[in-house]
Symmetry: C2
């Protein structure tokens, strides 16, 4: 099995965490989507990471579709650690909050942060590269605060983000926050409950590969890999 | 059952078409999301249409989550007219193309068109109202062309957009196109196969309620409700 991903694509990180929880270890292939490689576009006409390719050649594109696919093909084997619950209202809540982070948090925080601070360094000018737009970065840094409070509020009422059990919603939230945290853009003093939740998920074995990431010329923030931050 | 929707929200139209195919007729409640009504935010903290509310009070927010929910609760009853196929690769393809229209087409075409031409008329200045941004409208009109070709290319190789049977992907594509068509922004001479596909889906009973829509002060384009356009 292969996973086409990018180190700083939060949706790819979400899928890597999910694979970790499933106990699976696909081959990782780093894709720079802005190069619009024809072989990659043949796998996924939308040209976006992540894309999973099964051994039989079946391509599964996009975080939400991969999550459904893994649950449909391997979910039962996880037993009471299943990442999408079996009951209807639990499924709605996990899907709602997974989408909250993969779509809303992405638009408001990780997409601008990663675009301005990471992707623009590697893109040529005609691909959209250039110096970062500081106004976009400031807006993302303001937005992340209310998301941290929302996480704190949810976790206070429950055990994990979408309920009593760890779910896809926690993996999505943690994946996006880990990108912002690498860049030093998570104000951890903002919400103590959110910080404790992140410390819990950060210490899971599935998280280790993400904490080992370093990018040449762009080291992580001081406490990025620190379990006691 | 209730559906909180907006007449020009393409995701709401997608859900209305789905209800039509399921033979269901929920009560429609028009929601102006920019007013951020507290009771609506309590149903869906993201504050976006569509939201379905079951008779028992269960709220289901968002087009993709509603589609999964309806399939899980009523899909089997549709038999061979089921909108999400049973086989794994069919499910991936339907979800991929449903997301193509509900996410990508939305960002590139319907979101800017509807925001600039419709929502801005009804919003106060402090809510983001004002005269339309013509550059955004021109970009959306350019983008819709390649989507029409993609529909034509898919339908030529298959019977419907995601395979041999009508699926959620057709409903998503048609819902978004119907918004652009109301506004007179679909260049129907661009792709004959796409036009024939739209004529087929437009003549389905589930489509009738959408064709009956008219907005005070903003009549539809001349051929909007015309089955032979």
């Amino acid at each position: 099995m292969q996973l086409f991903h990018h180190t700083f694509c939060p949706h790819s990180r979400f899928v890597r965490l999910a694979f970790g929880e499933y106990g699976m270890d696909p081959a990782l292939i780093e894709e720079r989507v802005w190069e619009r490689r024809p072989d990659f576009l043949a796998l996924d006409p939308a040209g976006a990471t992540p894309v999973v390719v099964e051994e039989n050649g079946l391509a599964v594109p996009g975080a939400a579709i991969i999550a459904e696919y893994l649950d449909e093909t391997r979910g039962l084997a996880l037993g009471d650690r299943r990442l999408l619950p079996e009951d209807l209202s639990g499924r709605i809540e996990v899907r709602r909050l997974t989408s909250w982070f993969n779509d809303k948090f992405f638009t408001e925080v990780t997409e601008p942060l990663v675009r301005e601070k990471v992707y623009k360094r590697y893109m040529k000018r005609e691909q959209g590269g250039g110096p970062p737009d500081m106004a976009a970065i400031r807006a993302a840094r303001a937005n992340i605060r209310y998301h941290l409070h929302y996480i704190g509020w949810l976790v206070k009422a429950r055990n994990w983000i979408a309920g009593e059990r760890l779910s896809y919603a926690d993996l999505a939230a943690a994946a996006h926050i880990s990108c912002a945290d690498y860049l030093g853009d998570v104000p951890w003093d903002e919400d103590e409950t959110a910080k404790i939740w992140y410390a819990r998920i950060k210490s899971r074995p599935s998280f280790r590969p993400l904490l080992a990431v370093t990018m040449a010329g762009m080291p992580p923030a001081a406490t990025y890999a620190d379990l006691d931050f």
